[in-house]
């Protein structure tokens, strides 16, 4: 219903200027990072808000590092296997990507606070601990492939929409490429139309479409935090995060079919065409944020945690290139190449602020269960202009209208059998899209062992699954094809840590 409404609005009027960019999708992508954590926290669903005393606190709730009574360090490599099952116009596909990464390295320095001799050593400010960590907070590796036969429209309809909204002029835009390649023409009524599907006698025959997308990179964060312990009951902390984005994307949309083009005497002839629209993107960025946290133990067995993470203020350098190649066969032969046209852009944006609250119940020293809820408003993402990007309004409008606020929830538990730990967790990452998409679910489990002498080993398996929709192109008229992508990531994390 809502989509229909949007389409109606869209059909009524679509006005566009051709000198602005599209970064809303990327800004949302870069805003979906996770708190860096150890394998232990990942095993309990990353429900870290109310649990202190784990090195995950450095990049999560900084109050948690107030729990430390000794200095501690750990490192965590990860293995990710990402598979995307696609469904497009009735056909299914599959693509996989595996990679090995360094996920987390953390250290906390325990610093005792001194009090006068004779004072109660368990009251007042007892310690101020400092922590630093490196985290891989987002993983962008994925390969996507889908194909299908489209009998109602073609990407050339999209090019015609672009030409009608942006005009054909300077020769370097995508619609100019499409016009040069005779995929679209100007028709009576001063309107650009597809030469494949339209009402003026184009072939109107089904076209074969396929798209391959490869994404690489990730987001990392350096976190610096301080946490203090008051009477072993109240813990407060704060910290900063310095983030770094590396994101590369290549995608190629290929279409084969029949088109009506004008020959050298401007007479229409029907030819077979094979046209590929390619996009390459290399994006880097840096950002920083602030964190504040609190954990309170009303009674020994219960912990209540609150955490506030400011928006991350990012500055992004975006290098994007697009090109079009079309080969004709049949009644006309030849290959046309346009581009790649390169666009270098700098822009800035802020991710949403995050607020979370958590609760934990401890069963003596035999284990605990915990959960937390985190609020994120994706529609609060805001982009700002930069070099080569002089109008952020369309992207900000897309963000306001297509994304929403959501909640992430995590629950998990740990069973402590002396030196052996058993853990399980579940997490739901809320769907940021207003009209499409689903939640992403994470199921996790793990084992840990604490050795005599103050070192430990934790191993965690996490399965992340979610379905998203993507449109290879969009149309003013209804009927643009949608690819449904079911992404499953199997992760293994291994943490080795020691106290000193």
């Amino acid at each position: 219903m809502k989509i229909k409404y949007i389409l109606t609005v869209v059909t009524i009027v679509a006005i566009t200027q051709h000198s602005f960019a599209q970064f809303s999708e990327d800004a949302v992508r870069f805003s979906q990072s996770q708190y860096g954590s150890t394998a232990r926290m990942k095993a309990i669903g990353n429900a870290q808000t109310a649990i202190g005393g784990d090195l995950s606190s450095i990049s999560g709730n900084p109050a948690g590092i107030g729990f430390f009574t000794k200095s501690e360090a750990s490192f965590t490599p990860e293995f990710n296997a990402t598979g995307v099952k696609s469904s497009y116009l009735g056909q299914t596909g599959n693509a996989n990507s595996n990679n090995l990464n360094f996920n987390n390295a953390s250290v906390v320095f325990y610093t005792k606070v001194n009090s006068p001799a004779g004072a109660d050593k368990g009251k007042g400010w007892l310690s101020v601990n400092f922590g630093a960590s490196y985290n891989r907070s987002a993983n962008y590796y994925e390969a996507i492939g889908y194909q299908g036969t489209n009998s109602t429209n073609s990407i050339t309809n999209y090019y015609a929409d672009l030409a009608n909204s942006g005009g054909i002029d300077n020769g370097s835009s995508l619609q100019d490429f499409a016009y040069d390649h005779q995929l679209i023409d100007l028709y009576t009524g001063n309107i650009y139309k597809s030469n494949v599907f339209n009402t003026n006698g184009a072939p109107n025959k089904p076209v074969n479409q396929n798209e391959n997308i490869i994404r690489e990179g990730g987001q990392t964060e350096f976190s610096f935090s301080v946490g203090a312990n008051y009477s072993n009951q109240l813990y407060i902390g704060g910290g900063i995060g310095i983030t770094s984005i590396r994101y590369n994307m290549t995608r190629a949309f290929n279409e084969t079919g029949s088109a009506s083009i004008l020959d050298n005497n401007n007479q229409p002839i029907t030819v077979n065409y094979n046209s590929s629209f390619t996009q390459d993107q290399a994006t880097t960025g840096t950002g920083f944020n602030l964190r504040l946290g609190l954990i309170y133990k009303p009674v020994e067995a219960v912990r209540v945690g609150f955490q506030f993470t400011s928006p991350t203020w990012y500055t992004v350098q975006d290098d994007y290139a697009e090109g079009l190649q079309t080969t004709f066969s049949g009644n006309a032969t030849g290959t046309l190449r346009s581009g790649p046209e390169d666009y270098q852009t700098t822009y800035s944006f802020n991710s949403p602020l995050k607020a979370s609250a958590g609760l934990a119940f401890f069963i003596g020293k035999s284990g605990f269960i915990t959960g937390d809820v985190e609020y994120i408003d994706y529609s609060s993402i805001s982009l700002s202009t930069g070099d080569g990007y002089n109008n952020a309004a369309p992207d900000n409008h897309d963000i306001k209208t297509l994304y929403k606020s959501t909640a992430n929830a995590h629950v998990g538990g740990e069973l402590k059998l002396d030196q052996l730990y058993l853990r399980a967790g579940y997490g739901v990452q809320g769907n940021p899209y207003k009209y499409i998409g689903n939640n992403t679910n994470t199921i996790s489990g793990g084992l840990g062992y604490r050795f005599i002498g103050g070192y430990y080993l934790d191993v965690t398996y996490a399965n992340v699954n979610g379905t998203q929709q993507t449109a290879p192109y969009t149309l003013v008229a209804s009927g643009a094809p949608t690819a449904s992508l079911n992404k499953t990531t199997n992760n293994v994390f291994l943490t080795f840590g020691f106290r000193f």
Binding site: I6, V10, V13, I15, Q17, Q22, S24, G53, F67, T69, P77, F79, L100, K112, V113, N114, S115, K121, G122, S127, A132, Y158, L162, S165, G171, S172, S173, L174, F177, Y179, D180, Q182, L186, N190, N200, F224, N232, G238, I240, I261, D263, N264, N265, Q267, P268, I269, Q317, L336, Y343, G388, H397, R450, I452, G454, Y455, L457, A471, L494, F496, R499
Partner: protein, 282 residues
Amino acid sequence: MKRNITLGILFIGAIALSSCSTQNKIASVKTEDDVYFTKAKAGDEPVYAAANTDTYRHDNYSNADRSADYYYYDSYESRLNRFYGYSPYGSPYYSNLYYGYSPFSPYSTGITLGLGLGYGAYNYYGYSPYSYGFGYNPYYGYSPYGSYGGYGYGGGSYWGPYSYYNTVPGYVVVGNNNTRQYRGSGLPGTSVGSGYTGYGSAGSYPPANRPSRTSINNPNNGGSQTVSQRPARTTTTQPTYQPQPQQYTPPPSNNNSGSSSSSSSSSSGSSSSGGGGRPVRP
């Protein structure tokens, strides 16, 4: 395979570290886990042998008054002072921080982090191209042992005329006419523009009054050929056309010299024969 190697390295590393650990930490007989009810205990303040028991130390801002009475011979501060002669920040802060005496003193690490946020508000390193690196160096950026970390994120120069970015060759301001174009939201159910009318004044849709061009330069299609205007076609009926295979040399929009070899000889239709560009199609 890669994974096996990593696991192997980890395992060997674990064994290696465990052997160190057991030698060095024999006293630690039980496992500890700060998640579970460990209790922090405050330490004892050092007791000074000075006659003056005023712990506020009136001499904070006068290095001249410092004497060995006020601090440990072996303290960090005193060692520093022996080495440098004096300490620029009122030496007690070194010893206090190091021994945990006053975590909230104005030169403590907490404040250090605060300064670091300012992107070079305290731009001590000014134009140094290396200041960027300090931001990520946990020793300078986060050292609990001194206030130097305050200069850590020397970002003032980060954006300055000698900044990190502007030193990248060729990465300079890109003109508006090379702006990456809007390609839609990427989401189903939307279209270019998404029905949004705030994009500017490019005209209405369908475009009724786009300015016509006399000629354009089209660098993407064979260099710098001049493409003539594509005039409107006057006929409104589609010409009858018998398809016949022909040698076709695209792009036809550039052949205003008429150099293309063959052509079909069908009828009428176009009023644009003089221009040679592609006409408006019926």
